[in-house]
Amino acid sequence: MGRKLDPTKKEKRGPGRKARKQKGAETELAKFLPAGGDENSKRLSSRARKRAAKRRLGSAEAPETNKSPGAKPLPGKLPKGVSAGAVQTPGKKEALSLFNIARGKKRPAPTHSSAEEEEDSEGDGVVNQEDLWGSEDSDAGMIDDYGAGSNSEDEDEDDGEELLPIERAALKQKAQEAVAGDQWSEAETDEEEEEEQVSAESGPREDEESEGGLQINVDEEEPFLLPPAGEVEQDTQAPDLQRVHKRIQDIVGVLRDFGTQREEGRSRSEYLQRLRKDLATYYSYGDFLLGKLMDLFPLSELVEFLEANEVPRPITLRTNTLKTRRRDLAQALINRGVNLDPLGKWSKTGLVVYDSSVPIGATPEYLAGHYMLQGASSMLPVMALAPQEHERILDMCCAPGGKTSYIAQLMKNTGVILANDANAERLKSVVGNLHRLGVTNAIISHYDGRQFPKVVGGFDRVLLDAPCSGTGVISKDPAVKTNKDEKDILRCAHLQKELLLSAIDSVNATSKTGGYLVYCTCSIMVEENEWVVDYALKKRNVRLVPTGLDFGQEGFTRFRERRFHPTLRSTRRFYPHTHNMDGFFIAKFKKFSNSIPQSQTGNSVTSTPTNPDLPNMNGQVIPMSESGSPSTKKAGQAKQRLQKQQHPKKSSFQKQNGISKGTDTELSTVSAVTKAQASSKLQDSSQPPETAAVVREPKEAGKLKQHSPKLQSSRKAAFRKQHAPPKAMDTDLPAAPSLSKTQATPKPEDRDQPFGNTTGAEKVKQQVAEQPFKKAAFQKQNGTPKGPKTPTMSSRSSSQPPPAKRRKSQSRGGRQPALTW
């Protein structure tokens, strides 16, 4: 019962808790008071002034009542409403006591101390209320509320001791604001300082005003004037970084609201030019890279990005689950004086290190291989790759082995990993790391990645962490800021394309569990990412699939003048300023056919002639699939052919429709293919090129005709040559060859023969490559984004099977070339 004597708290006896608090408040107040006193006159806002005037006029007795009780300014001695203020004291007491009783307080008396006691609980709340209610004058209900309202400071400042909790809270708040204002102004440049101080002083004054007042204050700022060119030149000699920084902020501010804030007669490009120079000076970037970045980010984001590049990313490490568990590792490291936390929800093995008393790269745990130092972004590609146990995996550019070991750990040391790198020096670290981490299922080789499908192929999954310009890791290597130019980027991009193609070729599309490829770079340049991926989509039978990472920004589908395949949305970009990890790009491909479209059109001479023939076949095929009766096949085809010959040009569009329908409907219904349709299947495989070709036909029809006669024969021959063997393999060889032969001949006039000239051939190549993405190809060839609106597209899209089906059909169609070509 009662309090026990606690010897440890002995020294706390004497003046009680309240007393100490009071004292604290006193001292606290003392800090602010002088300033407040000095600025007393200044600090009166217009409203306060009005109120003061009213007070003086209306209630002369109010101050007297306040001061007469001696040093006991009762709670609520001065409410906001002046008229109410006079009447207050008794009623207020009552209210307070009532309040206390209602709250079940022990001490019933509405004494000063009780009010004090409630300081903690009430003070903030009341302040908030006050804030919420902004305009106190009108609020009569506030009167009884502890007199909490805005006791005008001028009256109470003299007897600081007796301040009411709410007053103190208000004071505190003001003080904070003032301090904040000061800090703000410190951050600003010298010129601004004066202005800022004024505003800091005026901060308290405007306290009671609505936010609008503050905004007005901002608006009153002098509009930023772009310095004339001469001054700029001066600046470059000895740049004053603070001024430059200020100017950057200003320009960004102006550009954000260009219409109103611009200086007359200055164009946006002038501002941008200036900004670019300033950014280059302030963050010491090369002009080229900065230009690239400005293209990439909106302005506000750009500054954030540049700032983020000045700060190192947090040290992260990945638990080696082959040897330990994360919890155990964390415990062991904490025991060594490392301050760490789990990396994030998305990673079950990552830890982030805040600070450490020991070198984190040389702890016994590290040496025993219990963890690997690895950037957060480096774990993502492996997670996207999602390797399964017992798979064959290729890590094409593996150094220094972080990702490789992560793969091994996800596979639990089963299967085989081929870790390759072109750099022998860097391979040494791979050997060390893999052994240290206890990876036993890895082979480490030293090939140029581009040789790859020749060395070994048929991998279930491939990870390509391509060499890149490193624009995502500027915080690690600031040299990138200046030492990259267009050539470097393009050189990287070229290498990446080569690597990506050989990586794709190394994947085994028919793998039961895999057939996936992850392409990632630590660059954020579009040239090295979306562009490369888009290129691969055109060149190989791959499609993009979601990476399985639920954060990160989508890849670009359009960037300035470039348009990429819409599925690039499923790629992921990571930025230092948004995700606090290195800039990174991740794309995950699924390979759906082992055939290489490129080889079909590899030599234009032989392959081109085949293409014009294909439409014929399609023309025939369509009615077949529509009628569905194999017996009428020939007749139907013949009819169609006749029609076409009669109206060659008119039918071109129809043909497209038909063809496209043919590709989709047929392919999707292939399972129900009858014997006769088997031949059509064969033909389908080669459709995409010709669909593309047909679309282009209207434009080129005129000039094409001249090519037709001489091409005709060669085309026929080539056609036979190329198509005969596969057909021979097919079930119904008697029908097919004859068909194609006969049909190949009559058509040349109305077919497009752009393939005769080289440009046409090239285009075809492209089109062939785009096989899986017919739609895109369509759009591109139409040359207008309006593509879908044309009759072709609409009919086409209507005939498209649902995506899933289509995918199936695509893959089927895609696989066929392997047989047919």
Binding site: R325, L367, A368, A424, L427, K428, R436, I443, S445, Y447
Partner: protein, 217 residues
């Protein structure tokens, strides 16, 4: 890459048996597949047959490493275990030494362990016996077990004064080897001076008289 010759196999097994005795059998006959030793660049790799098949596609000069490196043959056809074999030797080790946490760090950084740093030792550990060193925390469940290949050197008769020797042959076979001698694990860099890759840790190894004694091997 080629299988070991009869002679090489004998030499290597003798050395391994020093540490794990008859448990060597367990390494060769594994329930989870066929494992074999292959010689590549004078290094002996212990590797699963499945991996071996894939590795066969890679030409000799491009192959850097496969599976786990157990050690290397010297020019005089002696066999030197590498620290990388630790993962396989530690579970089967016959003689073990546990060292106290205080001595752990200094041991890892290449210093000798004195008697005061000795936590436990397997009974009957004789002189010149190959042992595996554990930290005190090496409980089976506990992941933190720094295990090191070392040779004991017991002086003064029965008194166990442990002088854990970092033999010159091993050039410091603690796990700091990974830092100090990264270049040496893999083949081609073997002849290059292999010290000083990691700042503070690259304490130059000072060979003691005992080091050069081939006693340990």
């Amino acid at each position: 890459m080629r299988p070991l010759t009869e002679e090489e196999t004998r030499v290597m097994f003798e050395k391994i048996a020093k540490y794990i005795g008859e448990n060597l059998q367990l390494l060769v006959d594994r329930p989870d597949g066929t494992y074999c030793f292959r010689l590549h660049n004078d290094r002996v790799y212990y590797v699963s047959e499945k991996i071996l098949k894939l590795a066969a596609n890679i030409s000799g000069d491009k192959l850097v490493s496969l599976g786990t490196c157990f050690g290397k043959f010297t020019k005089t056809h002696k066999f030197r275990l590498h620290i990388t074999a630790l993962d396989y030797l530690a579970p089967y080790a016959k003689y073990k030494v546990w060292i106290k946490p205080g001595a752990e760090q200094s041991f890892l950084y290449g210093n000798h362990v004195l008697k005061s740093g000795l936590g436990r030792i397997t009974e009957n550990t004789s002189q010149y016996q190959g042992v595996v060193v554990y930290s005190m925390a090496d409980v089976p469940l506990h992941p933190q077990g720094e295990k090191d290949l070392l040779n004991t050197h017991c002086l003064h008769g029965g008194e166990i004064y442990l002088h854990l020797i970092l033999t010159s042959a091993y050039n410091g076979s603690t796990i700091t080897y990974y830092i100090r001698n990264e270049m040496d694990i893999q083949g081609p860099g073997a002849n290059s001076p292999s010290t000083s890759t990691a700042g503070a840790l690259s304490r130059p190894h000072t060979p003691t008289p005992q080091d050069s004694v081939s006693v340990s091997l």
